[in-house]
Subunit: 124 residues, 2 copies
């Protein structure tokens, strides 16, 4: 397994599940955990589920991806309280996590992965 | 209703559905049609479904968004065969369509919408 895992936090449970389905096809040896939606299955995110998703990832070093602003806030709070090494990326949630997954699976050096992601940075 | 509609084509039916759920919240007066996955519900896209999704949109001017490369190819072929005015954007599928939806709903001039999307352009 890759030393680095991937975490996805979306406002929609279906986006989160769909991204997982898409990226696990190209990254069978990367631990990927995901969550989307609020407690009632509607649109939203919350701190508890973001935290649980990070902690349930088998990797201790995580690359985290989100769709919209308030998901980032929850990821930030959760990562501050975690003992894991977590980097949150302001990149497109689908395309960014797909890129990271494919590169990690290929065993590309983490610095190269990070620099590829830096090129996808959005103001979000 | 907005003169412009939004089309989403994803490799995953769940990503497509989730994006619709997310963006229709901010764009109740924009016609949004979407499709994802292959005929069997697996990961993939095809020309027929991309075409059907464009034609079923009530708007004649469409902004089209996709996740990964082969979805773009299907959109391109479908748009060449359509009588509609269709622009395909190489932007993040979730964040780009969300931005377009919110701006169209707000009645922002289409040239401003297009220039905002241009700033989100990815090499994909």
């Amino acid at each position: 397994m890759s030393e680095y895992g991937i975490v996805i936090v979306s406002h929609s449970s279906q986006i989160a599940q769909g991204i997982y389905d898409l990226i696990q096809e190209v990254a069978k040896d990367v631990s990927i955990t995901y969550v989307g939606g609020d407690e009632e299955g509607g649109i939203g995110t919350n701190f508890e589920s973001a935290s649980k998703t990070m902690e349930s990832n088998t990797a201790d070093k995580l690359l985290a991806f989100y769709d919209l602003g308030s998901a980032k806030m929850n990821l930030e709070v959760a990562s501050e309280l975690s003992s894991k090494e977590i980097e949150i990326y302001d990149v497109p949630v689908v395309e960014g996590s797909y890129t990271a997954a494919a590169l990690l699976q290929a065993g590309v050096d983490i610095e190269v992965v990070k620099s590829q992601l830096a090129e996808m940075n959005l103001n979000k």
